[in-house]
Amino acid sequence: MVIAVDGLVKHFRVSRRAPGLRASLGGLVRRRYDVVRAVDDVSFEIPEAQVVGFLGPNGAGKTTTLKCLSGLLHPTAGRVSVLGHTPSDRSSAFLEQLSLVMGQRNSLFWDLPALDAFMVNKTIYRIPEPRYRETLDELVDLLDLAPLLDRQVRVLSLGERMRCELAGALLHRPRVLFLDEPTLGLDVTAQAALRGFLADYHRRHGATVLLTSHYMGDVTALAQRVIVIDRGELRFDGDLAALTRRHAQHRVIRLQLSGAVPVDGLGLDVVEHEGLSLSVRVDAARTAEVAARLLATLPVEDLAIEEPPIEDIIRSVFAGG
């Protein structure tokens, strides 16, 4: 296994203070602390070259887990192994094979063109010149970076900066790639471009990828497997289809009718009825039976069965459904 997490626990001690001047002055004398259980007994394993989507609401513990896996945070308890290393040891041999891309964090040099940061990475990661040239050319091509390389990072748009961030993070061809909200704040076009690039990069280099994102599109486009975490606890670990099977208890049947019919007396859970379009929600186990009945009793021109949106499924996981 490239990544092995066994009973990972990470607790933070954070100070707590009410707003206002009085509370501020009081805080100078007496501090109050809370223990935040960011990750509580989480275990999973990821084999080489797998892309895993790491899902959960804000504060679920996704980023904390990634930070433990990349050696930024020392676990409170439990064992973590990445590429055979204990991440918190932060050995050079480990860090040279890893990248963590954080959507909200700038790892380039703000006042310099991205190319200057790439040169620093080349030295720090000891990338031989021919391989650096080859990888840079590939990344410039895939990410369309040519017009950006000689511009100060601070004048780049968010999408442009993220493309440069990714290039900087991939120059040393990491075997393990942690992506924390890589498409956060990007427009739809930039999100799609970044997803396309990541999928292509994974195909070419076979890196093991753990991806967190609030955009389900990122996960469905890239991940073969999802891990769902909520309030620090693991809720689901498996492939997307299994997640859908387990948590999508309803289907939506969309009908296009050839003539108007009254729907009140049909005993259906109507989701939408407008003109000749009709959508009904049915229990997943009865989908075929209801679809057959609708075809037999209504003037159906077209029929489609849809699974609920993945966002709804994830919501049902968080709700304990």
Partner: protein, 266 residues
């Protein structure tokens, strides 16, 4: 160590390029480099009104504070502000993810900045020395050969001392105020407020054994000839001792400090 040192030039280069990106910052930086000359002006007034204290003439003060201005640039204290900012913002995460200890990243970055500022400052100082004969160093080859390693040791001790104070940020989050207090108290024994020879007897007796003197007074007195070659031996021993002590302290504190890192934001 060789593995680490080959990474310094690239980081120094990027830091130097960042300094050169803003002309205004360069000018302001140059002006703050002139700050030691304010103290020089105070002492020149003293000489003019009360005569040379303990035989220190106007020329002695000019040479002393000119070299103090150079050594101030090599104090290494800038790293405290870098550590402090990165710890509070969480930007330290970026440095921790690189396969090079953050200490080296901060030092290389500081050196890159110093290369640019010294490249502007030292030629300016030489020009002043040529135009105003009052600024002379009366340097011998032997003393210069000793002053160079003394200056390097001053930087090493200074940057190690500043880095250890910076590590307190893992416990207190904010360290620049602690450093200002530490540095402010130390400036009475470093030779910054006044040459140690002119301080009260007990400070003059204690100062040579403290790290603050190693970072400023020791190399400045060697450069200006206030300290002889034979007198410098004991100060080299003290300087190496502080360097080793601080390096050992850093290696002990660092693993405990980094365990407390919370990697805030992002």
């Amino acid at each position: 160590m060789a593995e680490i040192s080959i990474r310094y030039p690239a980081l120094m280069r990027s830091s130097a390029l960042a300094v050169l990106a803003y002309r205004g910052r360069l000018v302001v930086g140059f002006l703050t480099d002139l700050f030691p000359f304010l103290l020089m002006a105070v002492w020149l007034t003293v000489v003019a009104t009360a005569g040379p204290p303990r035989g220190w003439t106007a020329a002695d003060f000019v040479a002393y504070y000119a070299m103090a201005a150079v050594l101030m640039q090599l104090s290494g204290q800038h790293v405290v502000w870098e550590w402090d900012r990165d710890l509070r913002s969480g930007d330290l995460s970026v440095r921790l993810l690189r396969p090079l200890h953050p200490f080296h990243q901060y030092v290389a970055s500081d050196l890159g900045y110093r290369v640019v500022s010294l490249a502007l400052f030292v030629p300016g100082l030489v020009l002043v020395a040529v135009l105003l004969p009052v600024l002379t160093l009366d340097l011998t080859v032997t003393r210069a050969a000793l002053a160079v390693p003394a200056t390097l040791l001053a930087y090493l001790v200074g940057v190690l001392m500043a880095s250890i104070v910076a590590l307190l940020g893992f416990w207190s989050t904010q360290t620049t105020n602690v450093w200002m207090l530490f540095w402010g108290l130390g400036s009475f024994t470093s030779g910054w407020v006044a040459p140690v020879e002119l301080m009260p007897g007990w400070i003059e007796a204690v100062a040579p054994w403290l790290p603050f003197f190693t970072t400023l007074g020791f190399p400045v007195e060697l450069w200006t000839g206030r300290m002889t070659e034979s007198e410098s031996g004991v100060h080299f021993v003290v300087a190496v001792g502080w360097a080793l002590l601080f390096a050992a302290a850093y290696t002990v504190v660092w693993p405990r400090a980094v365990r407390r890192y919370q990697a805030v934001a992002g």
